[in-house]
Symmetry: C2
Subunit: 112 residues, 2 copies
Amino acid sequence: MTSQEKKFSRKLAPQSSARMVETIYGCKWSLTVYQLLNAGINRPGEMVRQVEGLSTKVLNQCLKRNVEFGILDKQVFNELPPRVEYQVTPFGEKFLAILEQLEALQMEIDGE
Amino acid sequence: MTSQEKKFSRKLAPQSSARMVETIYGCKWSLTVYQLLNAGINRPGEMVRQVEGLSTKVLNQCLKRNVEFGILDKQVFNELPPRVEYQVTPFGEKFLAILEQLEALQMEIDGE
């Protein structure tokens, strides 16, 4: 033991959750998708119809990434024609709550 | 107006607050400094004494950046020798609350 004991060591950043924020903000349509889901629009076809500039291909990439992160859950209903719906998971709700707070903070910054 | 009116347009990410998260997590010692402040250690000299591997120069860069973001506030007391203390601003408290939630989310990811 040295004469002066060090009580603190370097605290690391939470890598995965921080990367989630970066990736989702980097993903052009995620925030729009969350708005749609919040408005009860949870089928991909309807999403594309409702959003200016959103293509099926790009939407599917965005949805897939969100499912991989565990933010969204994909449900496939065995109907004819097959019905696919997305919903926010309980984990996703927590993540979205953080994004909302970042948005509120942004408004404080902008309002200065 | 087209036959199918688009009701949603692309929602943008909150640039400044998202960049704050990235910058702070990229800043090697910020999280440690918040821990120190939380433990009542708010003078730079004492911080350096308490933390393994932290130099005065690097600490000052870290503190400066946090002051620029409005997360920390620097107080200089007109004493001999001059006393300098840092504290978390009300804005900073909100930002730190977001970081704490990202950390909690990280624990959920790790716990899977």
